[in-house]
């Protein structure tokens, strides 16, 4: 039986975060010691590692909740799980696209000024004042 601190050390998830996951329904409410402290077993450790890994990959709490629910039904087809992952991949790709546009614009803006001007002439300030100086939309 592991304390919440043990679980934390073994997974790298902070103690308050573990309690938060319980509150959000990702972890089952843990058994308690006589003194009301949480006690965990190996299955909880695995569940938490799953959650942690899914979070590291950027999945949100709701998606993880659904994946956990699915994983409780080993014989169902996995189309739903695959769709969740595919949707997330699409969302990540969209974010990348948006950030690349920002990067391009910012790089252009930054390259036009080297800190050697006055604020009045600064290309950074002028670009922010006038989207017309931009190369694209955002």
């Amino acid at each position: 039986m592991l304390s919440i601190g043990d679980l934390s050390r073994r997974t790298g998830v902070k103690v308050p975060t573990i309690r938060y996951y319980e509150q959000m329904g990702l972890l089952d409410a843990a058994e308690r010691s006589e003194g009301n402290q949480r006690r965990y077993e190996r299955t909880d450790l695995e569940r938490l590692a799953f959650i942690r890994h899914a979070r590291d990959l950027g999945l949100d709490i709701q998606a993880i909740r659904e994946l956990i629910a699915l994983s409780q039904h080993p014989n169902l087809p996995c189309a739903d799980a695959d769709r969740i992952a595919a949707d997330h991949l699409s969302a990540v790709r969209e974010k990348i696209e948006k950030l690349k546009k920002l990067e391009e614009e910012l790089a252009r803006i930054v390259s036009h000024c080297d800190g050697g001007h006055s604020i009045e002439e600064c290309y950074v300030i002028r670009s922010l004042s006038d989207h017309g100086l931009c190369g694209g939309e955002h």
Copy 2:
């Protein structure tokens, strides 16, 4: 003199957001009509357009506050403004790098399963359970 709604329509910034920017100190507290409604002038319109553009480029409120403060001193050198922009560009590039790693991993995971398995065999679920199946860190 423009009402807050006029300002909203001309900049595409929603009315509550304009009030929020005032509260955050990005916009000066507007003059008021006899009936306590906000009234704006051209300079406010320009300020709001600046804020909007900076937000569209991903700068946060604090950075925008600093840029506005700088733009009030036209004769100072622009090194601080340039640094804010350059720092933001670096942050954007870091985000892109992280997202690209996620994308790669997610693409790999998704490509291994086509929805035609059982949950028990699903590569998505198995990958989430075991980071050892991953190609890199995240």
